[in-house]
């Protein structure tokens, strides 16, 4: 119980009244000190009784609109206090907000014999983590403002788990079917000399004598050799596209968020297998980050940090206004059309002829594109396995196709594509259209996968993909791998 300044003023008044009675020597004046002292005691007793009534009857409820949310999302805190109006106290409920929340939870006042009060406050959560609401405090004050007491009523303390905005269910697969094993674990696929024994087989002419497994030969009564598998240090060159188109999708679940997940998985895989890995990040203006292939931990950490920090190029940062990129005509088609125009003497043919006189136009157009430039500029490696992993979307199909063709000259190529059909805002409102767009994407993916030494996978939200595939009545799923 905390006496306020008012109480002490009136207590001082009682002392003064007593002193004055002594000074004037009047018995009647003693009534003053008696009256004020008794009155203060009575007020204190009334406050205590009121406090007991409130403490016994108060029902305080603190509830959160959600127990799980994502960063920067809003939740609502509802605080409700109910008490039988049999007291004369002024009650103030002060809801507390966890350190991880932003928002103003104002005090709720129960005054003038009010029976209940309720308040709803909007909170935002800028930081990920699990946060428990601190207990709300109740401050009771008597009607005249002489005493005050703060209580912490026992009430439920909701917990809110805030998760960072990031892809929840990442699908990596082909034609809607997820890949059976994680990507990144690799063996050479060749048997022969090495360290890990794989199988024992019969001796065939040409096998080296030192490879004969004498124990197996003795046991099986036939000459056998033991095969070993060998592992190599693979060099992975990661090309991560973060151009404007990769920003499509809800915050934290954009194309790039999924692409980043795949890219980081490759970095982690390289970390586990002690492989050398290099990385290039490509924005609208060209290469935004370049890491030469190395295997040391600092290097991997730098790549991780860079990939985590990089974001899709905002629209306003584009060097040139965004416009649909024209699909260049292939050199063979240019040559064929040019030959046809040569034999045509019409004015129309004469008008068109200059456009087909430069067979290198296709190359010139493609070579200006940032992703192609990045892949093309990568230095060739000297020996060893070299994989190129391209993580991008299906927005620049011709450029990507040509980039893949260039990359496969240096070794196997893995392409991870985020289908635009799964990320466009409101794209699933028209499921038929979404399905058509996905089928078109799948056709393109298969086209890439049909190139030798190229594997193409789709990357996206599993739930949206299954929605698109499941909501296409009467149509066949574009399943089946083109490999």
């Amino acid at each position: 119980m905390q006496p306020t300044g008012r109480f002490w003023v009136l207590a001082a008044l009682a002392v003064v009244a007593g002193g004055w009675a002594v000074v004037v020597g009047s018995d009647a004046a003693l009534v003053g000190v008696c009256g004020v002292s008794a009155w203060l005691l009575a007020q204190q007793y009334r406050f205590l009784v009121g406090l007991r009534a409130v403490s016994a009857a108060l029902e305080l409820e603190v509830a959160s609109s959600a127990s799980r949310t994502v960063t920067e999302a809003a939740t609502f805190l509802t605080v409700a206090a109910q008490v039988e109006p049999t007291h004369s106290l002024t009650l103030r409920v002060d809801p507390s907000v966890p350190v991880g929340a932003e928002g103003n939870a104002e005090s709720l006042i129960l005054e003038g014999r009010a029976a209940d009060v309720r308040g709803t406050f909007e909170l935002s959560w800028p930081v990920a983590g699990t946060f428990r609401f601190p207990p709300a405090t109740l401050t009771a004050r008597d009607r005249l403002g002489l005493f005050e007491q703060t209580l912490q009523p026992s009430t439920e303390r909701p917990t809110v788990t805030v998760e960072p905005r990031r892809p929840r269910r990442v699908h990596v697969g082909e034609g809607g079917d997820p890949v059976a094993t994680g990507f990144g674990q690799h063996k050479t696929g060749r048997t022969g000399r090495g360290l890990e024994p794989t199988e024992v087989r019969e001796y065939v002419p040409g096998d080296a004598l030192r490879r004969i497994d004498w124990k197996a030969t003795a046991r099986l009564n036939e000459t056998h050799v033991r095969e070993f598998t060998s592992q190599t240090d693979r060099e992975t060159r990661l090309v991560v596209d973060h151009r404007t188109g990769m920003g499509t999708g809800p915050p934290g679940e954009s194309k790039f968020a999924y692409a980043r997940t795949v890219a980081l998985a490759f970095v982690d895989s390289a970390d586990d297998l002690s492989d050398r890995i290099g990385c290039q990040t490509v924005g609208d203006g060209g290469v935004t980050g370049m890491f030469e292939p190395r295997a040391d931990l600092d290097h991997l950490q730098r790549i991780r940090r860079h990939i985590e920090a990089v974001e899709p190029t905002p629209d306003s940062d584009r060097a040139t206004p965004q416009r649909p990129s024209p699909t260049p005509t292939s050199p063979a088609r240019v040559q064929a059309i040019g030959e046809r125009l040569d034999g045509d003497s019409s004015a129309f043919a004469g008008r068109l002829r200059p456009f087909f006189e430069r067979p290198d136009a296709y190359v010139r157009t493609i070579s200006d594109r940032p992703l192609f430039r990045a892949v093309d500029a990568a230095p060739s490696t000297l020996g060893g396995a070299r994989w190129t992993v391209i993580v991008t979307d299906d927005g620049h199909r011709t450029e990507l196709r040509e980039a893949v063709k260039v990359a496969r000259l240096r070794g196997p190529v893995l392409v991870f594509l985020t289908p635009t059909a799964l990320f466009e805002p409101g794209g699933l409102e028209d499921l038929d259209a979404a399905y058509e767009a996905y089928v078109d994407f799948e056709r393109y993916r298969r086209e890439l996968a049909s190139l030798s030494d190229v594997s193409a996978f789709e990357v996206g939200p599993a739930d949206r993909l299954s929605t698109v595939l499941a909501s296409a009545p009467g149509r066949d799923r574009p399943t089946g791998r083109n490999r």
Binding site: M1, L13, A28, W39, L40, V49, I109, T150
Partner: protein
């Protein structure tokens, strides 16, 4: 400003701060005027016209000061204006009427609430005062006994609150 440090004259209400003070309506009620009228009658019968004038002054003081302060001022006025040769009843009448100002502080929503607590406290403290005065016969000792008894009561109630509700956070 923390809750604990908040001045009681500043009441927070839904984000707005309502400033109140000793002139706050919670301190006074219509019943106070009735009590002042009774005081006026009692002082008029014992002190004549000056008693009425004193009552008017008390009414003015009542506008700006809380009832306990008016009560103390009123007791001082009774001691000053009621003649020494007046009977004990003549002195006790306005003094008792002034006690009505202490009772009316419990009026809320036009109802007298918990007046019993005030009456019992007055009886207890009065008993201490009378007993001390009759035994010792010294006014300073009586005043001291009343103050000590009140302080004891305050500490006792505070300890009870502490045991039931814990420390004031």
């Amino acid at each position: 400003m923390s809750v604990r440090d908040a001045d009681p004259d500043e009441r927070h209400s839904g984000g707005a701060t309502e400033h109140t003070g000793w002139t706050d309506q919670c301190w006074r009620s219509g019943a106070d005027l009735l009590v002042l009228a009774l005081v006026g009658v009692a002082l008029w019968t014992t002190a004549g016209v000056p008693g009425v004038a004193v009552t008017l002054l008390l009414a003015i003081v009542w506008i700006v000061l809380p009832n306990p302060a008016v009560f103390v001022v009123g007791q001082a006025a009774v001691a000053a204006f009621v003649p020494a040769e007046a009977s004990a009843v003549s002195t006790a009448l306005p003094a008792a009427a002034l006690c009505g100002l202490l009772l009316t502080t419990t009026v809320t929503d036009s109802r007298l609430r918990d007046a019993t607590a005030v009456v019992v406290a007055l009886a207890l403290v009065g008993t201490v005062a009378v007993a001390t005065h009759s035994l010792a016969g010294a006014q300073w000792l009586t005043a001291l006994a009343v103050l000590v008894a009140s302080a004891t009561g305050f500490v006792s109630l505070d300890l009870i609150a502490l045991s039931e509700f814990g420390e004031n956070r």
